[in-house]
Each structure stands twice: as structure tokens, then as C-alpha cells.
Symmetry: C2
Subunit: 234 residues, 2 copies
DNA sequence: CCCGGTAATAAGTATATACTTAATCATTCC
DNA sequence: GGAATGATTAAGTATATACTTATTACCGGG
């Protein structure tokens, strides 16, 4: 159960950075010297340093050495979990409810994403995700049944399309777009809030090598939503 | 300029996953066999596999081998860049404008985060970030001048506190909280939108080893905001 | 004085080797 | 039959060694 050596090296270096002992832009000793200091092989230090660099704490350049990254360069990472997991994490009871399932011609924006011809149909699902007795998320999804023909048979009555898609369809890239909108009358009714209430809207587009697979619009009542952090797995 | 071997291994494995050739949950050959297949050392394969595991594409367990991760387990990562960089990335002109600077007792929520006594004062900054001729972000920030005494002297007239803090204060953790709210009269005026307009609100709390350093509330007009992705740096 | 070649340097990659640790499978014994 | 035990396997870690490559610093010639 002893901690790996490279991790120990990593955390002591990280502590020197976090404590301000090493300020932004300061150079660190080179790999070889650190290896001597810690009494280990250069590769061991190298691995610690590489991970620190991957995580954005330091910047490395050949010949120039390693220096503490100016914080500007590191973007804060936040992760979006799956809906039901997110709700579970809040110690709330998750419930899924399908509102609509149809095969229809998608709106222009979606049709374009799918590279559809006029009138070509896709699978359209609308559903609600509940956390305890409140609506947590309203999902409006279009699935490209040309790209994923198996989806056409699914009812998505007892579990969400997200769930199934994640486990059955390989994908390569996801694009997100976050914005805030006011609830129109229809949304307000379904989400059980007043019209005009601020909603957090997440648009998600999932691609595979063969093109766009699915497009989803997820709306949350403004109040409740994700708190995230920038953890360092020490 | 030739691609490192371990990266080549990594991408060909990734292609097998993405193409659906290897489905979710499928086992991959063990390190030794793959090493033979690719005609390289086990460590080289090991590194490729470790990175794939770090990035969430596969799951590894001792003795049990490596299998393709069920997508459920990987959270989508999105990164929040610095305001001015974000604006720059949009090819817009960035402008900073300070609206207020005072030393005052912070509201209860902030005072609690700072572990302040009643009446203890903090530095309060309100400012706007412009993208071309539109207000991109309204920032309302409290800085714990007990934790960061140097900040007390700064005017933050020509550049934002974010900028300075990032470069001068070591920190260990950032907590975020995203929500949507309707613009009240004051916000609407400053952001140059109609009252009731949906705003994207980001609350950010920055901690160091010695406690909470700063708390910021960042508001965006609903329309414009970050598009993010889940890239794989092949 | 600047320009460009070159040497020195530090990070990066690759390999062989050896040992550790966790997990699973199969066997044995009660 | 079922639990304890031990063997086996595959990932994980650590080290020495060697070679590659990008970049800087220096130095000499035009």
C-alpha cells in the first residue's frame, strides 16, 4: 500500500509550487539534479514532471528546462457527468419519464448537422429527468437513425437515450454549448416553473467517425446545477 | 519530426475503439501480446495504454486485463479559459473597465467562506469585460486581503483582478458553480440588456492551503457563451 | 555588429530487465 | 459443499542505459 515513488516526487514538487516556495515562472532544477536530490532514477523524476506538465502545473521546454506555469495557461477543467449519476451524487432519487417518441423530420439546424436530405426522418425523444420530486432536466433529443439504425427499434420508455447511446455507440467527439435562456410557456409547464424563469441550456452534439450521431438540448431550472472543481488526484 | 512510437500505438488502438471494432466492455490483448504485435517493448505499449486509461478510453485492472471503458464512466471535460483569452479566441477586441473598488464588509456568504469576524473588511471589485462593443462579462469579486495583503494596494484600474491573482497567488483548488438567473434592474443596466433577460452565472471560489482567497460572481448575457469540446490530442 | 554555424545541454523516447502487487482461478482440506 | 490456500497472471513500478531532438548560448567570420 506504499505510495509509488513517482507520485511522492510529484506531490512534494506540487507542494513547493502550491506553497509559493516556487513562484510562477521560476525554474525547477533539471531532471538529473532532482533525481539525485530524491535519490531515484531520472526516469522516475521524469514521469512525475511529465504528469505535472500534463496537468498544467509546469511547462517544459527542451534545453530551456522546466518552469512553474503561469496560471494563465491552465484552463480550469470541469466535468459533466451523466444525468442519473449527477442526481445520485446529490443523494436524490432519480426517476426517468418519457414524454414523446416519434419519427419525424428534424428542424433545419439538426438536419444540417445530420447532413439530411429534405424530409428525411430522425428519431425524436423528449423526456424528463427527476431528482426526488423536482424536474432536474428536460431533454429534447434527435437521433440519426441512418447512422445508428439499432436505435430505431428502442422505445426509450424506461431509461433515457443517453444511457443507451453511451453504452452502444462508439463516438469520437462531443461538442457542448452552454447558455442561459428564459423559459417559454411550453418549457415552463414541463419543468414546473414560472414562464420567464431562467433556464440553463446545454446543447450537446455527438459525432462519430461517420458524422453526427445525435443532438440533444438539455434544460435545467436555473437554481439547481452542477458544482465542479479542479481536483488534483494526489 | 517522426511521431513517437507510443503515440502511434495509442492512436491505432484508439481507432480500433472509435471504429467500433472493439465494442464497449471488450477486452484488449495484454501488454505483452500487443508489444509483440507492434514489435516494440512492453513499456512502450504500457505507456500508450496508461494514457488511454488516464483519458478514460479504457479501464485497466490487474490480473483482469484491459477493457474498453463503458462510456458512462468518462465525464466530459470542458475547460474554462481566462476571460480575455476567451475573447481573444473569438477574434474580438478585449477591453477592461473597472466600475467599483472599495474596502467593505462582505455579504454573509462571502464572510463565511473567508472565515471572517463580524465587520472585518475585504477588497471589493466590480468590473466589466468587453468583447468589441458588447459587454461580455460582469465580474463582482471579493478578495480576502488577510490572506493576500499585497492585493490591498492594487488599484485594478487597467487590468482585472483575475489576471493579477492568477499570476501572483498560488492556489490549490477552485470550486465552480454554474447557474442561470434573470437579470435584475442593476445587472441589466450594467450588462446593457433588458431586465429579466437570462444570464449565465458562474460562481468561482478559489482556495489556497491557508483557506479561501477570493470569491467571484461572473455574469454573462445568455446568448454568448462558451462552446467546448472533448478533444483527443492525437 | 550581426549573422549563422556549432557545440553543449536538457528534455524526450525507447529498450531490457527485474521486482511488486492485486486479482482471479484452481486446488485441497475440513 | 464451501471456505481457506496457494499458484498464476497481468498490470504497475523502478532502474540502468542509450540514443534522439529541440533549443540555447557561444563564437568566429563577413
Amino acid at each position: 500500500m506504499t505510495k509509488p515513488l513517482y507520485k511522492a516526487v510529484k506531490t512534494t514538487l506540487l507542494e513547493r509550487i502550491r506553497s509559493g516556495d516556487l513562484a510562477f515562472g521560476d525554474p525547477l532544477p533539471n531532471d538529473a539534479d532532482l533525481a539525485e536530490e530524491f535519490g531515484c532514477a531520472r526516469l522516475t523524476v521524469h514521469r512525475a514532471m511529465r504528469e505535472l506538465a500534463d496537468e498544467g502545473y509546469v511547462e517544459r521546454r527542451r534545453r530551456a528546462g522546466t518552469r512553474v506555469a503561469t496560471r494563465a495557461s491552465r484552463g480550469v477543467q470541469l466535468s459533466i457527468a451523466r444525468v442519473d449519476e449527477e442526481i445520485f451524487a446529490r443523494h436524490a432519487v432519480y426517476r426517468y419519464e418519457r414524454l414523446l417518441r416519434e419519427k419525424a423530420a428534424p428542424p433545419a439546424a439538426v438536419a444540417t448537422a445530420f447532413a439530411f436530405n429534405a424530409g428525411q426522418k430522425a428519431l425524436h425523444i423528449r423526456c424528463r429527468h427527476w431528482a426526488d420530486d423536482r424536474v432536474f432536466q428536460l431533454e429534447d433529443r434527435w437521433i440519426n437513425i441512418d447512422a445508428v439504425p439499432e436505435a430505431a427499434e428502442k422505445a426509450f420508455l424506461h431509461y433515457g437515450p443517453n444511457h443507451w447511446l453511451l453504452e452502444h455507440v462508439p463516438f469520437s467527439e462531443v461538442r457542448h454549448d452552454i447558455s442561459a435562456v428564459c423559459a417559454n410557456a411550453a418549457d415552463a409547464a414541463v419543468l414546473e416553473v414560472a414562464a420567464g424563469h431562467a433556464l440553463l441550456r446545454l446543447r450537446r452534439m455527438t459525432m462519430s467517425t461517420s458524422g453526427c450521431i445525435t443532438v440533444a438540448e438539455l434544460k435545467h431550472p436555473g437554481e439547481l446545477f452542477s458544482l465542479c472543481s479542479d481536483p488534483h488526484p494526489a
